[in-house]
Point group: C2
Chain length 335, copies 2
Amino acid sequence: MIRLTLEQARELAQDILRSNGFSEPHVQAVTATVLAGERDGCASHGLYRLLGCVSSLKAGKVVADAEPQVFDQAPAIVRVDARGGFSQLAFQAGLPALLAKTRDCGIAALAINRCVHFSALWVEIEALTDAGLVALACTPSHAWVAPAGGTQPVFGTNPIAFGWPRSGRQPFIFDFATSAIARGDIELHRRAGQPIPLGWGIDAQGQPSTDAAAVLNGAMLTFGGHKGSALAAMVELIAGPLIGDLTSAESLAFDAGSRSSPYHGELIIALDPRRFLGEDADSHLGRAESLFASIQGQGARLPSQRRYQARARSAEQGVQIPQALYDDLKALILG
Amino acid sequence: MIRLTLEQARELAQDILRSNGFSEPHVQAVTATVLAGERDGCASHGLYRLLGCVSSLKAGKVVADAEPQVFDQAPAIVRVDARGGFSQLAFQAGLPALLAKTRDCGIAALAINRCVHFSALWVEIEALTDAGLVALACTPSHAWVAPAGGTQPVFGTNPIAFGWPRSGRQPFIFDFATSAIARGDIELHRRAGQPIPLGWGIDAQGQPSTDAAAVLNGAMLTFGGHKGSALAAMVELIAGPLIGDLTSAESLAFDAGSRSSPYHGELIIALDPRRFLGEDADSHLGRAESLFASIQGQGARLPSQRRYQARARSAEQGVQIPQALYDDLKALILG
């Protein structure tokens, strides 16, 4: 393992993205999210993702200097056309209108179209909880996951993220794949030559397997049986056809074997507690704290706590990544 | 088992509710949902629920003639105060404004407050898909379910329901408890003296149990481990404090041992595909059909199909309920 300060990790990411030709707004937006992932202990959404950024660019699957275009779609809908660029900049472009519409209408949606997507959703959710809003986000990916009762991939890993603002505290946030595990975690096992637990996926013959490579070539499974499968279908629908964008199967077909990041859309829904509650907002939001206390008081963990602990640790000690990954990343810097 | 035509089942429900003093709007609204549950093969949300309607009334926990009051809370929020009555009539009262706001703004929310709730959410979701809208609904219940990693009940069974309209076909709808199983199913096992599977719950000492009564006195578990637990927390938050209403723990405290239906709120979010998609709506909604075909084409089932099959069967053959339940129901008719 090699240790990097957060500043060193930031410079590494920026150097890779800049030297490969990404425009400065994309350099900054992508760096912010992979750095946040690494900092918060989410290796599968950390610096490792820069490998995919560059390979997607080399495969011609991402536009390095795309300028997102914002559309006022409806009183409570803002739409951003990412024009083939990474999703992060498109989210930033749509955020001011989403905040304004949510405060005006009480609830609003941001639909991001034609973006290349690999980011952890909780980074975007935090931007909304920081503004005092409740938020929900989801996106398809590539068709890697079989529906409950089936054996063929149809769904993406289809993450769902949710955030709840907490006065004077870090927000309550969860962000999980509706697959049994993130695909990045299976890829990290394959890179490390480690077996995966049963239940993560099936091989190309539809049989349960602990071989990471066999599952990557077969199908992943959803979490929670038919309920997780239903949620995965919901994500396909509301972050796909509902917003006029690709399903995971269509995104994988567009990828045409290049193994690039998925190209499709993302849906973010924001709700303003102050519009729902009026002047009683503070007292009702305070009651949510009783709920958190009753969870933590019995020794159970809130979903975001491990990330916040890693964040505090990284602020003091920096981050650690495998030497092999570091070497692969350094090799991406051109010129 | 005793067989009833749908008309006989309707008259039975109406006679029970009317003779116990419910106002005619509540008689009609409640009858419609318990009949829909029985008709669609959901015994746990069928005629059996009339036992709870009457016991809630006798315990003074529901207002038999409550008239819901509708508030225009924000451009995209309608709020209905159920004033202590059952939720169904409140939903009906808020539906026209929810439809209008969703069509105006693209996305809108209906918050129902101070309702007594026992209805299956898919009945309400169908009202929205029938209008061509995508819909999501959730509600807390009573604090019966332990968070992942804990042993004490905090969450309700906290169902999440989702619907997607399909042109010329029955909608794609799922409706599931974020608990491993609906509480009604455990109660039906207890009534029948049958053991429950491991994984549904733990006893009062926090140990896994197959004894339905022990689990009803201990804690139920969520589906899907920490992911299901996170979703249960989300439902508590967005259908509780966000809308100024009770959490499942607060609802159970209000119940004060009367074993009545939960008293709290419900959140329904509706999205209008035509506002998201404009004139391309039909072609994009058509692409959702490819998704459904790829699920069904490999022998996997869409979540709503079993209900629609039961619905078709009930239209021809009526419904069957246990003789003991029928006797219990007949005994509720007064005068």
